[in-house]
Amino acid sequence: MERAMAAEEGRLAPLQALSEGLTGAVERVARSVVALHARARIPSSAVVWREGIVVAAHHTVKRDDDIRVTLADGGDARASVVGRDPSTDLVVLRLSDGAKAAPAEIARDTPRVGQLALAVGRPGSDGPTASLGVVSAVGPSWRTWAGGEIDSFVRLDLAIYDGFSGGALVDASGRVLGINSSTLARGLAVTVPAVTVERVTAQLLEKGRVERGYLGLAMHPVRVGAASAARLELRHDRGLLVAQVAPDSPADRAGVLVGDVIVAAEGRPVDDLDDLLALLAAERVGTSAGLRVVRGGTLVEVPVTIGARPQRGE
């Protein structure tokens, strides 16, 4: 009888080992996950990314200065915003001097489909919180609805609770795979991969902003019509109708008019806004791009010098 009980205990050992592994992973990263008190109701999570630097989800941080931070050891610190990148839902903050917070261990590899992953947050002073799931899809680089470039699309099969956004996604050994966000992909649980966080953080620390190209246009996808496309010898009949030109913007200075239909950029056909946004990477600022537009029934080439997107308040 006793032997049977012992055998039974032994059968459960793998579950206990897994459970120990998961709690260990949570404990390891929790030393670097802090709570920010920068919005009404519940505090939000943030990750100590470098010495004295924390990264959080932009949409959860409603103030810029004198933000109270609850550290992993329960102590209090202050932080202020260094810079924000709403397009990737990231904000970088600097902790006040002397705040004791160990930087997280960052995973350098890309997340893999099927990999166990834990979302670890700290939505207040009652200790860390965890939820378990898997990386459910990993895709190529993608552009968020706000125009941000994210190095790979990492979708999670994992429940979203209070404190998810701004928290860490960690692998089974507690290394950080990314910063979680619930707002970047229509409420799906996604993580901004570590490589993107690193790139955006470096830019924000250096310049206080993430530079992006800017034309100053509001556009809407339209069909030119098969007959017009044939007459103009266009390979396809789609384009972007210019609905608005911002005064004194790069597009304005280049002579783009309301009513123009942009059918190609840099010689490549333009179907939707993404095709044009692809031109607006930071390294294109100051360079020239050739737009081909349909204006009054004829094709016109319009060279535009890509500008830098103005910050709010500029």
């Binding site: 050992a13 793998p14 459970s19 949570v26 939820s131 429940a159």
Partner: protein
């Protein structure tokens, strides 16, 4: 670790859980859910919102169906004690919720949507919330619970009961901690003795 061992372990755990989980049904719609065999002499613990009438039908894992008398109910704790006439039951082992750490594996068994002995897996979400005396009161778990899970066991990776599944709050499964159940039963025993 070979994945087979993990499979085998969770199957063993499910079987262990099945033996200490009971299905409770009342007359008509008057409550239906799960319960936990708390003592071998016929004490079943469930939620107050499951045990609504004066008596419930208690279905055991071995096919027996017994009549249970709802001995005590506490709406504020959402707990009920149901007594069946049996002395040979296999009682659930219990563990302190106090030692639970976020990320620890947990399992729930119950009758979600009437399906008997259905298993769910998840992890501890945060440290348990405490009562005014500093004892664990509620365990929050990242686990998917459905209505028929009410009153059933939430167990750790060793199959020990850490709480009675009671509600879902903002998507989180919430269980009344074992310590709170024991404290309630002790207070009842004192009240009876007095």
């Amino acid at each position: 670790m070979h994945p087979f061992f993990l499979d085998d372990a969770s199957a063993a755990l499910a079987e262990r859980l099945r033996r200490v989980t009971v299905r409770l049904s009342g007359r008509g719609w008057n409550g239906a859910g799960s319960g936990v065999v708390w003592r071998h002499d016929g004490l079943i613990v469930t939620n107050a919102h499951v045990a609504r009438g004066p008596a419930m039908t208690v279905a055991l894992y071995d096919g027996r169906e017994l009549t249970g008398r709802v001995a005590w109910r506490s709406r504020s704790m959402d707990l009920a004690a149901v007594q069946v006439d049996a002395r040979d039951l296999l009682a659930a082992g219990t563990a302190d919720a106090r030692s639970l750490r976020p990320g620890a594996l947990v399992f729930a068994m119950g009758a979600p949507l009437g399906m008997a002995d259905a298993l769910a897996v998840g992890v501890v979400h945060g440290t348990p919330t405490l009562d005014r005396a500093g004892r664990p009161l509620l365990v929050r778990a990242d686990i998917r619970l459905l209505p028929g899970n009410s009153g059933g066991p939430l167990v750790d990776a060793e199959g020990r009961v850490i709480g009675i599944n009671s509600m879902v709050v903002n998507g989180l499964g919430v269980a009344v901690a074992t310590e709170a159940v024991e404290g309630w039963l002790q207070r009842l025993a004192h009240a009876r003795a007095a």
